[in-house]
Structures are given as structure tokens and as C-alpha cells.
Amino acid sequence: MSARELPAIGQHPLLAEPVRVARRAAAAYLPAFLLLVMLVGLWEVAVRALDIRPYILPAPSRVWTAFMDTRAVLPEHTWTTLQEALLGITIGAAVGVFLAAIIASITLVRRVLYPLLIVSQTIPMIVLAPLLVIWFGLGMTPKVIIVALIAFFPVVVSTSDALLRADRDLIALVHSMGANRLQTLWHVLIPSAIPSFFAGLKIASAYAIAGAVIAEWVGASSGLGIYINRSSAAYRTDQIFVAIVIIAVLSMALFAAVHLLSRWAAPWMHLKDGGNS
């Protein structure tokens, strides 16, 4: 029962924890990074050795050149897509939490709404995107709607599930203390749902950027989707690869951001990695 059991408690200023996490993450992802470098190298060698046409498969060096050539317009396209994705995922998450709350608290709503939610996910976005352009024009609105539609689903499912599965004994305990509904929500239900909410949000964040790009592809004045559209019309496969890389990097960054947010919001879920080393 000595103080040594708990070296981390109370000693860390606010920033030490994220820095520590980032350093550990860097070490953990080093092998993945090395593998990526190897694959890119292999790709370069293979394209040169087999003399593959650039419009079929450009070598990484050619993709890099395309990136340098178009780097003046890329920030604007990227920013548009990122904005749509962030806005969409925020709205999607908010709607998701709201729906999860009423699904978990009213059985009738659950019975009526749940099948509809699943139906909403069976409509291919590529069908929905042109419709939304017809209804809302070429601006950001239809893209944000698409992203929100993609993002809300995993959030509703995981959050409502967690609310319904909250520990009955804990609810009974606070009830025995005289807790009202609001206090039960605050002390038990919300904290039990936080980890699952973030699990849903992580899935959403992995799809959000790609969702925005698909929506733009149908029609937009700015964004990575329209950049891909134009590049493909001009057979600039190298530029398409530039966009693919940017989409991958943005998605990973978004995913990592959600992950860090979840660590901050649910610190009790992440104790193991701190104590073992």
C-alpha cells in the first residue's frame, strides 16, 4: 500500500500526459512507418523496372512532382474538404447523441426508429449525393449532410447500446441514495456511455473525409473531390494519387484527434498503459 504503487497520480501537470502519449505513440508506430517506406520504395522500383505508363500507375517520384506542381491550389481544396468533414462529423455526432438518448429512454422510439436508421445506411451515398446537389446546390451544404449521414450512424448505435447496457447495480445504487433522473444521468449514464460514444466517433472519423470527397465529386467548386474529378478527366493519374495521399493523411489525423479526445474525456479507460512499463 506504499505510494510507489501509483507513481503517476497527482504528479503530472496538464500537458505532461499528452506529451508522454505522443512519444509512446511515435515509438509504437515506427514499424508501420518503416513498412510504408519500404512499400513506396518497392513501388518506385517496380514501376521503373516494368516501364508502366504514368497514366496507368505513376511512380511515387512522379506523384511527388505532381504534388509540387499543383501545390498552389491544393491548400484551398484540402481546406474545403476538411471543413466539410469537420462540420459534418460534428453535426452527425450531435444528432447521433440526441437520437441515442431518446432511443435508450423510450422503448417505442427504439422500435420505430432503429429500423429506419438501418435503412438510412443502405442508401448508397453515390446515389444520394446528386440528389442533394439538386436540392441544395453546389455549395458546402450537401457535402456536410453526406458526412453527417455517414457519421451519425456508428455514433447512435454505439452510444444507445452503451446507455442501454449501463450497469443496473450502479443505477440502483445512486437511486438508493435518492438520485433523481438528472443526477442518475450525470453520475452514471453519461460516463458509462462516453467510451462507446468515442468508439463510434472513431469509426465515423475514418469515413468522414472520404464521404466529403464523394459528395464533392458529384459537383462542387472547390474540394479534393473536384480536384480528383478534374485530374481524372485530364488522365492525370499522378494528381489523383496526390489526392489519395492527402485523403489518407487527413483521415489518420482526424482519427488520431478523436483518439486523443477520448483519452482526455475518459481517462479511467486508459490506466493500463501508464502503469506497466
Binding site: E5, I9, S176, M177, G178, A179, P191, W268
Partner: protein, 265 residues
């Protein structure tokens, strides 16, 4: 010594003709015709075989279960289906995993409307007595089973209710820590003289702490034996070897034997 001479406003626990079965085919008869009077300010224990309905009785008094028949009152309030009148410590040490130890300790007080600052002050002074000093900011998952149980007990004590319902509060403690907690519990209880209904498997523990010990029979649970314990307090270890103590212990064990005798399955 005993506080029975002190004028109190405490009304204790009154249970009359209480029966409870859980629905099913056939229904599971758990409690049958329980009559129990715990005078205000007294310490009463219930011992009984596993599964006989001890926790169920406490849950009725905590307002979490509604009996099929009979009445249950705690500190003058009807508790059947109405929670918030008793300080209940469940058998499972239910700590909220998302609150650090100190915040878990003040949870009940907070819900009951005691000022958080005041509750924290009191909790902090108790952490030392409970052997939890230095762990105020630990997460529950970083505590040992015994520490978790002591924290749950501490939280129960901080609730501002007259009646305490303690369901095997020392079940996860080793013999030595347990003994320390017995001494501590006697002191605290003598100081604020709240009504305690205590469930345990340990006959010696029951005799050491209680004014009255009841034995509950196997399902359906009935109170089949009552032993009044009149040793002066505080009771040290020496009381355990007292002839009268040994006698009472034998009576309780015999009653427990009888209680086990009619296990249906």
C-alpha cells in the same frame, strides 16, 4: 456506556409481515413473513446461509425492491419502493469507475444535497482512519479489493441518513484488517449512534459488533433465532474468549445448522 439511556429522535427500522418472491415459474419465494424491529440507534446483525435473502431484505429497506406483502419502515418513512431514506452499502463494492476515490466517497453526500466542500472535508479526515490516506486521487481500478470495500463503506458513512444498511462490508478483508475495522466501526458507531442493520456470514463478527443478532433460515428466509448481546462496549478481542460469548456463538452456530437443514434443493 450503552447509549440506550440517551434520549433519541431516531426511530430505527420496523418490518412487519414482509414477504417477497421473485417472479418465475414457480415464483422464487425469498422472504417469508419477516418481522424485524431495529430500535433507533442500535446495531443489529443478520447471519444466514448464502442465498437465503439477506441482501434482498436490505434492498427492500433501501427502497429498491417492493415486497409482495407487509410493510417496511426506516427512520419513520415507508421504504417500499421509495429510495433515498437509508444509507445502503451493497454487497458488491459498487464504485463508479469514472470517479477518483475522493469523488466516489462524496458521491452520496453530493446527491443527498450536502455541500460538496463540507463532504470533502469530512471524507478527507476519514481517508486516514480507513487506511486510504494517499489514495484520494486514485482511480477505483487502482485499488485493491479490500481498499475498494473500505472506500464503499466510507461513502456509506458520509450519507446523511439515520439508518445504515451494510451488506457484508468486510467480506473482502483479511482477518487483521477486519479486526481493525471492527474496532473502528465500534468507535464511530458509538460516537454518532446511528441505527445499523448489518449482514454478515461471520458469527463472531456479528457478536462482537451487535446488540442483537438474528439468524435467517435458508430460502424462503425467515428469522429463526434471536440472540441479545449485552457485553459492554467497546468490545476488545478478549471478549471472544468470554464464556458467555462462546455460549452465544454456539447457539448461533446451532441455529445456522438448523437453517441449512431445510435447504430445499
Amino acid at each position: 456506556m450503552r447509549a440506550s439511556t440517551v434520549v433519541r429522535t431516531m426511530t430505527g427500522i420496523q418490518v412487519e409481515g414482509l414477504s417477497l418472491s421473485f417472479p418465475g415459474r414457480p415464483p422464487l419465494r425469498v422472504l417469508e413473513d419477516i418481522d424485524l424491529d431495529v430500535p433507533g440507534g442500535s446495531f443489529v446483525s443478520i447471519v444466514g446461509p448464502s442465498g437465503c435473502g439477506k441482501s434482498t431484505l436490505l434492498r427492500v429497506l433501501a427502497g429498491l425492491l417492493v415486497p409482495n406483502k407487509g410493510t417496511a419502515q426506516a427512520s419513520g418513512e415507508d421504504t417500499c419502493g421509495r429510495a433515498g431514506h437509508t444509507a445502503y452499502m451493497p454487497q458488491r463494492d459498487l464504485l463508479l469507475p469514472w470517479k477518483k476515490a475522493l469523488n466516489n466517497a462524496v458521491l452520496g453526500a453530493e446527491i443527498a444535497g450536502v455541500s460538496k466542500h463540507e463532504a470533502r472535508e469530512r471524507a478527507l479526515s476519514l481517508f486516514d482512519q480507513f487506511g486510504l490516506a494517499g489514495f484520494e486521487q486514485a482511480w477505483p481500478s487502482q485499488l485493491s479489493g479490500g481498499m475498494r470495500q473500505r472506500l464503499a463503506l466510507l461513502r456509506t458513512f458520509l450519507l446523511p441518513m439515520e439508518v445504515l444498511l451494510l451488506d457484508e462490508p468486510f467480506g473482502a478483508l483479511d482477518a487483521i484488517t477486519r479486526r481493525g475495522m471492527h474496532q473502528w466501526l465500534q468507535e464511530v458507531w458509538q460516537r454518532d449512534q446511528r441505527t445499523v442493520l448489518f449482514v454478515t456470514h461471520d458469527v463472531e463478527e456479528a457478536l462482537l459488533l451487535s446488540d442483537v443478532v438474528y439468524v435467517m433460515s435458508a430460502r424462503p428466509g425467515r428469522l429463526i433465532e434471536r440472540v441479545d448481546v449485552r457485553f459492554p462496549r467497546p468490545r476488545g478481542l478478549e471478549v471472544v474468549s468470554d464464556a458467555e460469548f462462546v455460549d452465544m456463538k454456539a447457539r448461533l452456530l446451532a441455529a445456522l445448522d438448523r437453517a441449512m437443514g431445510n435447504v430445499p434443493d
